[in-house]
């Protein structure tokens, strides 16, 4: 009896000492000296480690930008690979400071999970991939198919909606880990693999023979992907939002990692404000005034990041499309630094 009581009390006491998800993330981050960034478990172009464990990708660059803004050093980031299912719990429990893991901004997530989306760094939509030999040319021919996907995603819900609306029968096979989804599709357990379209191209690279698969033309959903922070810490939210906005503004103003030092001498007031030559936007954010200069210098502008990780020159070969700047026919648009 005593032993039982004791262990119960002990267990309870332990859980009391568990971290209290703190409101002042900036102070936390400053005192530990790095940013803990939640990423995927390996998604080429978005967040993927190389053989020596260095992460890179479009999503990784958001975290690096924040680190550059706060510390002046884009390397001060530690990464936590998360499955789709684990990601929100990891963020709300305080395990990570930013979630930058191809996460779709939805009303439920924004309003019911205690989270805030700090922007959109990639406009995506959901697509389907099938084997060429099936001779399927439209998603509307998929009645009766088995569909493999990852659990805890919007993908799962969209697929359910799509098949229900189009009155098609199907079987949804949802795995926890992406590698299992790919393995199951590859072995023929499912005829269809569905995910965000950008990812279909990178997932295809993981298949035994990428050439025997096609991506179907239908895009069945809107997937605005962006970085996420905990609700209730406006300062941190602002830092993440403006760090990303700075990358987009830099592209718009033609400031790149290469010319940023020259640009400091620019007469353009927009550039002056961006690079901290004029005004003190850093103060309002609680970080150094060269925050945006550091971002562009160490990480690059949005266009640079895009081209480097997912653009036409990479193995993913994704065109800018809707992710082009608003001034170039896309929807990428950041509020001005003014």
């Amino acid at each position: 009896m005593k032993a039982k009581l004791l262990s119960a009390a002990f267990g309870a006491a332990l859980s009391v000492t568990a971290v209290n998800a703190s409101a002042a993330t900036l102070d936390d981050v400053k005192s530990k000296g790095f940013i803990q960034c939640g990423v995927s478990q390996g998604l080429p172009g978005f967040s993927q480690p190389d053989s020596s464990g260095n992460w890179s990708g479009l999503d990784v660059d958001v975290c690096r930008a924040v680190a550059a803004a706060v510390f002046g050093d884009a390397g001060k980031v530690k990464y936590t690979p998360l499955s789709a299912k684990e990601r929100f719990t990891a963020l709300s429990s305080g395990e990570i400071d930013i979630l930058s893991r191809n996460t779709t901004w939805t009303a439920t997530r924004d309003t019911q999970l205690g989270l805030n989306f700090a922007g959109v760094n990639y406009y995506d939509g959901q697509g389907f991939m099938v084997r060429k030999e099936l001779g399927v040319s439209s998603a509307l021919e998929l009645s009766g198919a088995s569909v493999c996907t990852q659990t805890g995603t919007t993908t799962e819900i969209n697929a359910t909606d799509y098949f229900t609306v189009n009155k098609m029968e199907y079987e949804l096979v949802a795995f926890e880990k992406n590698d299992e989804v790919v393995a199951a599709y590859d072995s023929g357990r499912c005829e269809v693999l569905t995910s965000d379209a950008s990812q279909l191209y990178s997932l295809r690279l993981k298949l035994t023979d990428p050439n025997v698969h096609v991506v179907l033309p239908e895009i069945i959903s809107k997937e605005p992907l962006g970085p996420v922070v905990r609700q209730g810490d406006d300062q941190w939210f602002n830092i993440v939002r403006w760090s990303f906005s700075a990358m987009v503004n830099a592209e718009e103003l033609g400031v790149t990692s290469e010319n940023v030092d020259e640009m400091k001498k620019s007469e353009n007031p927009g550039i002056k404000r961006l690079l901290g030559v004029e005004g003190n936007f850093g103060e309002g954010l609680g970080i150094p005034n060269e925050w945006a200069y550091n971002i562009v210098k160490h990480v690059g502008n949005y266009g640079e990041s895009f081209d480097k990780h997912v653009g036409p020159e990479t193995s993913l070969g994704i065109a800018r499309g809707v992710n082009a700047l608003w001034s170039k026919g896309g929807v990428m648009y950041a509020p001005p630094i003014r």
């Binding site: 568990a18 998800a21 099936l134 088995s146 926890e176 023929g188």
Partner: protein, 406 residues
């Protein structure tokens, strides 16, 4: 500690009677103080657990409550024993998950027990090959982690099956269904109008069997006469329903699957995820059960066997009437543990997309609704209840099996 070197002093003390102990050395006071302290710590622990959770929830402006269980889930699951669609509530998701857990746990327990008992007895066989084979079975199985077995069956063994579009079973035109990488698409039994009569007969047969066997036992105790209980029970449970089934005109038909564009459709699909999980769980657990059975039998003194042989019992009845009933007392408690393990281990199914409780309720539903605290509480309570129910049942069974002194 001081050592008393003064003999006189000791004698003195003996004459005065036991010295009055300091109050903090009084065992009674001591133990109640400790109790009070512990209860205090416990209450503080529980209170801080609750207030900590509440503070964290409110810091994230989240509420606590179970109302969300009525909301539509929005996602589909691949196997459901009850009516389910995307419009069903999270509560239905819970039921679907629980039923899927129970399905794999119960079938797993039955299989593991059957295989485990056979292997355990085989290990004690006097036939060298049989006992060696059983030994290797046990060693190979229990020394590889279960998750690995699940992967071996799912991504290894099942992958050897033909593709969905060219399944096994086409030569029989699907009379036994089709087997492929997409699982076993079995013929689906469809109940006819009068089938309930047969069902009723089975139920009646079971109840009647209990009555007959307890009557037969009592009679044997009293008079020593044996009664052919087994045949009567078989007659009651199988014969009677079978007869009714035939008389009512075979009220059962099958819906056969057909091969479509994406493989076999219709019929009753048995998911490959289910097959892999069930196989892995039951053979893995059977290795442990085999060892328990072996230990249980070995615990029975060899003299028992010799004595019953001396009484003229053949090896079969010796095992059934003398050894097993005694061995069961040793076997049942650890067997209960294995049953509990198997049930809890079924949650490893997340890895291969079998939609059980942890996977779809504590996984998908949690993620889609964001109700971590509530859902984990419900899930924990569910597993606790399952475990308690299993042990209650096994304790009851164990008590029944206990030696009754006459």
């Amino acid at each position: 500690m001081t050592v008393d070197t003064d003999g006189v002093n000791a004698v003195d003390q003996m004459e005065k009677g036991p010295q009055k102990t300091a109050f903090f050395n009084n065992p009674k006071i001591r133990s109640s103080v400790i109790q009070v302290l512990l209860i205090g710590i416990l209450i503080y622990g529980v209170w801080s657990l609750i207030s900590n959770t509440a503070a964290n929830l409110s810091a994230q402006s989240k509420s606590f409550g179970f109302g969300f269980l009525d909301n539509a889930s929005g996602f589909d699951v691949s196997q459901s024993l009850i009516e389910y669609s995307r419009a069903s509530s999270f509560w239905t998701v819970y039921q679907v998950g629980l039923l899927n857990t129970l399905l794999v746990a119960i079938t797993g327990i039955i299989l593991a027990t059957l295989v485990g008992f056979s292997i355990g007895i085989a290990r004690l066989s006097s036939n060298w090959i049989v006992s060696r084979a059983a030994y290797w079975y046990v060693e190979a199985l229990r020394n590889i982690p279960l998750l690995l077995w699940i992967f071996i069956f799912y991504f290894g063994v099942l992958r050897l099956l033909p593709s969905k579009r060219e399944p096994l079973g086409t030569s029989l035109d699907g009379a036994l269904g089709y087997l492929s990488i997409g699982g076993w698409i079995a013929p689906k039994p469809v109940a006819g109008d009068m089938l309930w009569l047969t069902g009723l007969a089975v139920l009646f047969g079971i109840v009647a069997s209990f009555i007959v066997s307890s009557w037969a036992k009592k009679r044997q105790m009293r008079t020593g006469q044996q009664f052919p209980t087994l045949y009567v029970i078989l007659g009651l449970i199988i014969g009677l329903p079978a007869a009714l089934f035939i008389v009512t005109g075979l009220p059962l038909s099958f819906e056969y699957p057909e091969i479509g564009r994406f493989g076999a459709r219709g019929g009753m699909p048995v998911l490959p995820e289910f097959i892999a999980l069930l196989t892995a769980l039951s053979i893995y657990t059977s290795a442990f059960i085999a060892e328990i059975v072996r230990a249980g039998i070995l615990a029975i003194n060899k003299g028992q066997t010799e004595a019953s042989h001396a009484l003229g019992l053949r090896p079969g009845p010796t095992l059934n009437l003398v050894i097993i009933p005694q061995a069961l007392r040793v076997i049942i408690p650890p067997l209960t543990n294995q049953f509990l393990n198997l049930t809890k281990n079924s949650s490893l199914a997340v890895a291969i997309a079998y939609p059980e409780l942890v996977s779809i309720f504590a996984g998908t539903a949690l993620n889609q609704s964001g109700r971590e605290v509530e859902i984990i509480m419900i899930t924990m309570a569910t597993y606790l209840t399952l475990s308690l129910l299993t042990s209650t049942f096994m304790n009851w069974y164990n008590n029944r099996m206990a030696l009754i002194e006459r």
